[in-house]
């Protein structure tokens, strides 16, 4: 019997897109979810996104946005002006509950799904800011992983979705559920299909969401 894992990354506080991704994934039969970082930053719905991920108990990793934002926790107004305006705005929306959640996010997750080792990171195993592009080679991957050889490597950060097999390892970049930058205006997430007796297969799913609602919220909430 098969099991589908939905990979959502780079939500960037876009709750509208996140809900659309979840609906799409659930329609495709996804039974488990994982988030590869950058939950917040730039978008108008940081609190809503964090609450949803928390209440639905989705495993998630720290992204560079969260990493940067956590430096603002408890900072004075004067200190916050040294950061970009959208970080300042986001920091003012969060309560202790949301801060604590972000602070609890690990830089990487190792999951065991149907006997396969799944490594989840935001940028790469090197750091949250490092990037894995579709052109990655075996050598390039080797230098980022060191001695580790997971069956599946999940990453995000670049907003460029792809999935490819590199020397027996499945690499999946889910792209961005919040903001697309690859020329296709639709957002994306990944679906990994775990079937008994077969190596997992991945697909990138593109989806549309109510863009106008998000733009209206950005304006009404005065997001910089």
């Amino acid at each position: 019997m098969q099991m589908k894992l939905a990979v959502i990354s780079d939500i960037h506080a876009n709750f509208t897109a996140l809900c659309a991704a979840l609906r799409s994934a659930e329609k495709k039969g996804a039974g488990r979810f994982v988030c590869a970082g950058d939950l917040i930053g730039r978008g108008p719905h940081p609190v809503e996104v964090i609450r949803l991920l928390k209440e639905r108990d989705f495993p998630a990793v720290l992204g560079n946005m969260e990493s940067r934002l956590l430096h603002l926790r408890g900072k004075t107004k004067k200190a916050r002006t040294r950061f970009k305006a959208h970080f300042d705005w986001t920091s003012q929306q969060l309560t202790d509950a949301e801060w604590d959640y972000l602070a609890s996010l690990p830089e990487e997750l190792v999951l065991n799904i149907r006997g396969h080792e799944v490594l989840v990171v935001h940028g790469s195993p090197v750091s949250v800011k490092d990037a894995i592009y579709p052109s990655i080679t075996l050598q390039g991957l080797g230098s980022k992983l060191g001695n580790r050889r997971p069956n599946i490597l999940i990453c995000g950060h670049t907003h460029i979705p792809f999935s490819k097999k590199v020397a027996g390892m499945l690499v999946v970049n889910a792209g961005a559920a919040g903001t697309s930058i690859d020329g296709d205006p639709r957002a994306s997430y990944g679906i990994i299909n775990f079937e008994k007796g077969a190596f997992p297969r991945a697909a990138i799913v593109r989806f549309e969401y109510d863009y106008d609602s998000v733009m209206n919220d950005i304006k009404s909430r005065k997001v910089p």
């Binding site: 709750f15 509208t16 996140l18 809900c19 659309a20 719905h45 609190v47 809503e48 609450r51 949803l52 928390k54 209440e55 926790r73 408890g74 900072k75 004075t76 107004k77 004067k78 200190a79 003012q92 929306q93 969060l94 309560t95 202790d96 509950a97 949301e98 801060w99 109510d210 609602s213 919220d217 909430r221």
Partner: protein
Amino acid sequence: MTEQRQSYGIPKKLSVQQVVRGLGKMGYSCETEGIRQALYTYYDTQDGKLYNRALRLRCCARDADSKVNSGAAKNGVPAQASTTTASDHTWQLIRDRGLLFTQETENNAMPEIGVIADHIAGITEPGTLLPYLLARMTEQEVSLQAPSPVADEASEKGVEGGTVPSGSTASEPAMLLRFENWRFKSPFRESWSVPLMVMTTSAGVENKEIEYLHTLLRDYMGLLPVDFDILKNGLDVIEAALPGAPFPSRYRLTPRDSVYTAIGKTAGKQVYKMWGNTEGTIHDLDIEFLHDLRVATRRVRFALLLFEEYIGKTRTENLRKELSWIAKSLGRVRDIDVFQEKFSVQFRQIGASEDFIKRVVGHYTGKRSKNLETLKADLKSGRYWELIEALRKLETFMMRKDRGQNVPVVELIPEFIEEVLDRMSGWLGRSADSLSPNDLHDLRIEFKGLRYTTEFFSDLFAGDMRKVVRGFVQFQDCLGLYQDAQVASQTLRKFSQKAMKKSTASVDMMLGVGGLIQVQREIQEQQQVRFLGMWNEFPRQIKELRKLLRTGKFYNKV
């Protein structure tokens, strides 16, 4: 802080429990506060004076608030509720969903004195108010607690050296969900509509939690905000027209409309008016319903003739024939309404005796009742509703013909108007004193044609054009009064002839009839003089109109 409210339509497949459970899954805790029931009756005048001013007048009969029996419900599982049965009738005047005034009366009596009556007396008299909609509501209130408190201003303030404790002293957000189950009914029909569920969120303070809740409802639960107006939505559900039957905005002409679209919209407008005034006419709520229905019937009949080339000869003939049938039936009642209105003033002029007034009023009232019964049967008949349906199909038919047709109607308007002016050209050479009463009757029909033709396109007209068109209305009004007086004379003669035949004519009666006929003669003379004075101006007005049409300055280009 003012209350923030937002309404959401709840689809039929979703229950209150499902919504509350969904919120529970997102970390919200919910507590059922109570259940209320209310019955509202909405009132307005025949022409929608209150509605046009964004006012809503309603009488509310409400059961006392009910409270949950034992223990508040938690997270979507309500405890059993009970109701008490004390009722009161409260009149409420509302503007933009804000309560302006409230007033209690006994036994649902219309407020004759007091703040509501005084306020609306500037707009209309309480006696002219008609019931439009009954709305029954059952409301369940649920208070909502957010998953985590919102950051307050304490976290904004800094201390020297850097960090301060972040947002930890927020007050509890006060949010309410009201689940309202509505059913609607026309005051003149038997059955209630299917239920319509609306959920309203409100927060007593301006806080971010209500924003988060709205995002959650919209994106996570798929509930879209709606602009819920009980009167508007209720009338829409029961398929009844708004007070005054205002044209829907889809019928407004734009400069980009092709001639087919313009014809579809023109016909659609008048059919809408016919439909909107039918129920009021059937129940004889106000004589103006019948008047508006008759005017709409005449206008659409004229429009068919004007646009025959585009509609098709056979279709035009058939529809005009049916419209003629209902127009005659309407006319037999409307004419009497006009007499009764005018006679009520003219009785005083001639110093008529009570006995005479009673006889005349009795005669016309009886005749009206008889004609009204025939009219009611006609308006309830399959034949009438097939006519309405055929006219509605005409609107669709014209829109379909629009495909690929790009000539804007503004390029053809001068042609339509010139066609009517050409028909009148034969009259222009005639001097005022050469016009006989029959000529005036024929001219009245021509002026009506000119008025209708120009009014069909009035959405597009610029200020100067509107002024010229208004000038033509005066001709028709003047000739209309002349005609009414002529018909009134004829009917009074028939009345007296009938009485003489039955040997029920008295001296008092004959003197009264003679007096009234004399009044009609005076009216005709007055209107004739007035018309002849205006007639000399008519060629100049035509010149002005033609100049506007020729230069294209008759319409607003935007």
